[in-house]
Amino acid sequence: MIWLSWRQFRTQAIVAGSVLAVLAILLLSTGFGLAHLYHVSGLAGCQAKHSCHNALALFSSGLRGSVYEFVFYIAIGLIYLGPALIGAFWGAPLVAREVETGTLRLAWSQSVSRSRWLIVKIAMLGLAGMAMTGLLSLMLYWWSQPAYEAAALARPDTGLSISRLTPLLFGTNGVAPLGYAAFAFAVGLAASVLIKRTLPAMAVTLAIVGLVLIAWPNWVRPHLITPVQSTVALRAQSVEGLSISSHAISLIVGANRPSSWVLSDMAVNSAGRPYTGPPTHACAAVSQSYQDCINSIIALHLKEAISFEPASRFWALQGYEAGTYLLLAVVLAAACTWWINRRRLA
């Protein structure tokens, strides 16, 4: 059974391996350059605020519009695209194509139970998919290390405000991509078993995996670990903007927490309710300046309520996220194995 699985998977494995090799070459050939830029900018040894600021500026200008930006986006895109493609091209055809060509009737007439037939295939393709995504993620982790380290030193206004916890980048780091790959493959398999036609199964797989990956950071990830709630006195530096109408005022507040994942951040009154006005005299009067308006609001002694995931929770969040996806994948794969044993196919 292992022989047949490998024989059928061989071509796809070679194609996927080649894509991975090209990427590895791309990352290796630029990765040392990026590390070099980090050192020559003086970021490695900078201690004082001033020298770090200069080094950062040097590093940022070296990044802007460079090949590094391009490679970074390509790699991020592929880490997300990879699992979806694994689901659509490895998972979805697994059973459906054999139903379409009738070869399932040949395969299931050999002296191998269909559970074993499926489990061997799931193990081989699923693990290969996870290994590939894991390798890509590992390479990108090494490659992007200088950029993340620089960002940890930077203030948000320098334009280098990336963090491993921001929704988009979180999914390209650590073990989360392994979970995505396993999950996407299992979704493809389930679509394959239920729909039994390759193209519709591929389309459904892409749609489901896409939707889940997009919806996840907003709807599920914040609930994996209850965010830290912090309430501090509102300071003028935190106010990024405001809008005023005749009866109400709304503040846009931004906390300076560069490496955390801020989920919500707002100005609240002493009762803990969001501050909505009414507008102060300074803000209502046209003659007064923006700064006077801000000062009049600060004088109200409002609080800033922040809900966030601190940087220290990165690996815990990664573990929960990958674990949840893996669990979903295992449940789906087990359900598929159970389902084909009910002999609904062929």
Partner: protein, 301 residues
Amino acid sequence: MTPETPVLKTTGLGKRYRTRWALRDCTLSVPGGHVTGLVGPNGAGKTTLLNMAVGLLAPTEGTVQVLGGEPAGSQAQLARVGFVAQDTPTYAGLSVADHLKLGQHMNPGWDAAIAEDRISRLDLDPKQKAGKLSGGQRAQLALTLAIAKRPEVLILDEPIASLDPLARREFLQTLMEVTAEHGLSVVMSSHLVSDLERICDYLIVLVSSRVRVAGEVETLLATHYQVTGPRCDPAQLPADWQIISASHTDRQSTLLVRSDTPVVEPGFTVDQIGLEDLVLSYLSQANSTAARGQKELETQR
């Protein structure tokens, strides 16, 4: 397996797809040691029956046993049954040699010598991709796979329906050779009676899930007579005659009679009947029964 264990036995077997019954209340028993032909019109449920016999489909109701065991119930059971599915599927992207390797890796009882011998006798290039083979060669490859796993029973679902006459003849030739060499029981479905006549020694006629007639071909031929004579009333014919079909002109009646004793009746001409005519009579009998049922339904409305 005792000699009495039927190779295929079904009791009240039925399979429903949503609201349509592909097979319903089918009870039959195929004895071992025969090359059995399963004949019936398209839609009689032959493929459904055989797919259930090899465990590809689960019955909606009733039971099915092959060699006394549950179809595909265990690895041992899978190894005992060789199956060539309808349209003889093979992996288009795999070569002939790959298919043999597949068989070797997936069957503990695989006999490589048989497989290689068959491939060389068929003059197939082992490096040829199965997708590039002709229909006849593909069917032969599928048969080779089913034989080389050394099954006790070989089940074939319309393996020759889509082949040209020459390929059909060659396929049946191979089948006859291996049956004789390995002492296999064979169950083979077809709607081509003339082909079955060449190789089958046991026949089952299946029409709308019902067994119309079943028995050894020799016995069937020996107990069916075509009787021609002046037009007569069926009620006046001898009581031990079982009239399978009757057609009448103004002056003459032609009957297919089943009788365990030789038919001798003054004034009638009695002829032996060929297998094809025999089967067709049973099939047309079923048709007229169905037509009558239809009429009754219409008058009820």
